[in-house]
Amino acid sequence: MTSLPLKQREKMLHEVSQELHTNEFTGAEILLKALEAEGVKVIFGYPGGAVLPIYDALYKNKNITHILTRHEQGAVHAADGYARSTGKPGVCIATSGPGATNLVTGIANAYMDSIPLVAITGQVALAALGRDSFQEADITGITTPITKYSYLVKDVKDLARVVHEAFHIATTGRPGPVLIDIPKDITTKKASFNYPPELDLQGYRINNVINATQIGKAAQAMLEAKQPLIFVGGGAVASGAAEEVTSLAQMLSFPVTYSLMGKGAFTDNDELCLGMVGMHGTVSANYAMWEADLVIGIGVRFDDRVTGDLSTFAKNATVIHIDIDPAELGKNVYAHIPIAGDVKQVLRELLKVLKAKSVKPDLKPWLEKIAGWKKEFPLRYEKSDRLIKPQFVIQQIYEVTKGEAFICTEVGQHQMWTAQYYALSEPRRFISSGGLGTMGFGLPAAMGVQIAHPDKIVFNIAGDGSIQMNSQEFATIAQNKLPINVAILNNHNLGMVRQWQELFFEERYSHTNMSGQPDFVKLAEAYGLKGLRITRPEDVRPALEEAVASPSCYILDFHVDDTENVFPMVPAGASINNILGR
């Protein structure tokens, strides 16, 4: 082996001794060391000019797995899916300019659903900032309203602290996305590394004090209620309070309904569960909300898709509202008994107080009434032995996976059918874009879920519209051999929009027909994946069984009845007792 030229050798030795003696690292190395210290095992990203030094450091790093997606939007949704299914923060990385702006939808999506996410973006060098330089975009400015916080790092000495603060902010209190924008020269400058650095956040407070008076009032109201209803949302999932929600409901025999984000926080398989409430919620849940004299909102934000007309929502009810974010209390619906605090802690306090009381409310008439609604208005659809009904596919997925799969969805009719027909008994199993309603979320999110849970069955239930919004990620799935099962409920239409056009726009189907679709089976084959087209009801089950049994990614193209609509339905802005398609 020939020795290196003297000059180069000297340079290398100098670098090594520098590192040994002063313990200094480049910004890129500091970033990765800080991520390791935060427990990050996997990041999703896409390289580019401004992040070259970071990718160079990744090349040498042995502890962090990087998943190369095919679009930055894929990276941020994958990080989001990872976070939703594990409860740990997801991490994604993109270059400056278009790389950063391609993250925007995913960041907004995580913000709306309060998902802990740390997004790292490269930025042009400090000296080039503000000069409209090549691939420069003001990403901290762009993301200010859709992040919990954002940083532009201007000194390499701040970098470790910024990363530490970012994870702290993203994961504590009401979780949310935090963005760190790092100019390219910061990643090559050197500084020492001590971790964890001290937090410098005097204005950031997390409410740890639970108001005992409010707990007492809430307990009293619960014991006096004749027609109570527990309404559980994403906050219960985020807080890890499924157990406490279950204890509360079962202890008092209170019926439970949930928002889309709350699915899984209380088992669908309990007699007390009424399923989802709101626009496409069950009739029994909406009627119960309408007639309740006590609504206990747990980690919910009373979104318009739940409440319908605010002026008539739960108008006879006393409202107990529990949320970690005080700004949610009274934002949309007046809370008679607001309780600010971590849902799990609040429920524990409540349970303590309730356990000490011997009286229990007599709810027999209320529960009988609800049972009557359940019997009279179950979820239903017209069965067919000729056409594949989309609801039937979901039911079959449920049966084949025994209700134990991780279920991701895109956005649209298939999403609502999944929420209605896939019964879940665990939190963090239903991975769906709630607040923002992002088509194209499901496929990359499923990658994050599968990477976090390599041995579990992961489904992405999609529509033929949504799947085409991020279908480039099939390449990521192929490259990483992820055994995701993709069930496309293909109705050759943007079904949900079409449904609204049918119901509210006199059947003027403006630009909702999706002719010119790819052959999804050939698409699967093009990526080296498995593809099946299913056109007859009797082939649904065998196709699903084949996909689930196989370690390959399957794209299952179910040609479903293209006129099927999602019912029940409360029209937007109507009172929730005004239900179409009961």
């Binding site: 901290t140 200010t144 309203p145 532009l152 902010i169 204005g203 950031y204 005080p326 009274g330």
Partner: protein, 169 residues
């Protein structure tokens, strides 16, 4: 109803953007916003006058508190407080009518801070009512330009809005 909020924030880049953005995005009406450093250079104080009913003001407060840089927020509308605004008015003033203008300036205990050939710049401080009054008193002469600072306010008494008792310092 108008509310006067005094907000202590960390003196960091982007704070003003975040607060202004929050008001714009959620549709709150800012009447005025004044910001400046406090006795502690790491902290700035904003005085925000915002219009809204109690429910809106409650949301404004809660949403502001969610911003990481917001350290403390107080609604001093119903507390005893001193509030001041400053105005600079450039008014037409031929030598012939200067005397009349100077009388008005005298009455309002304002000051003339610049004289041009045909104009004067007048500086006045006071509460909103006084500032409005001097502006309308000078309007007949022809106002060429007006700059107002927006209201700054401070609660009366010993208790400091930094959350510390001044006696303890």
């Amino acid at each position: 109803m108008k509310h006067t909020l005094t907000v202590l924030v960390e003196n960091k880049p982007g704070v003003l953007t975040r607060i202004a953005g929050l008001f714009a995005r959620r549709g709150y009406n800012i009447e005025s916003l004044a910001v400046g450093r406090t006795e502690n250079p790491a902290i700035s104080r904003m005085t925000i006058v915002v219009e809204g009913d109690d429910r809106v003001i409650e949301q404004v407060g809660k949403q502001l508190y969610k911003l990481i840089e917001v350290i403390k927020l107080t609604d001093i509308t119903n507390d005893e407080h001193v509030d001041r605004e400053m105005i600079l008015i450039k008014v037409n003033a031929d030598p012939a009518i200067r005397g009349e203008i100077m009388q008005i300036v005298e009455i309002f205990r304002a000051r003339i801070v610049d004289i041009g050939r045909n104009s004067l710049i007048i500086e006045a401080t006071g509460d909103e009512g006084k500032i409005n009054a001097i502006e309308s008193a000078l309007r007949p002469f022809g106002i060429k330009e007006v700059v107002r600072t927006g209201k700054i306010a401070m609660a009366r008494g010993a208790k400091s809005k930094n959350g510390r008792n001044q006696e303890a310092l």
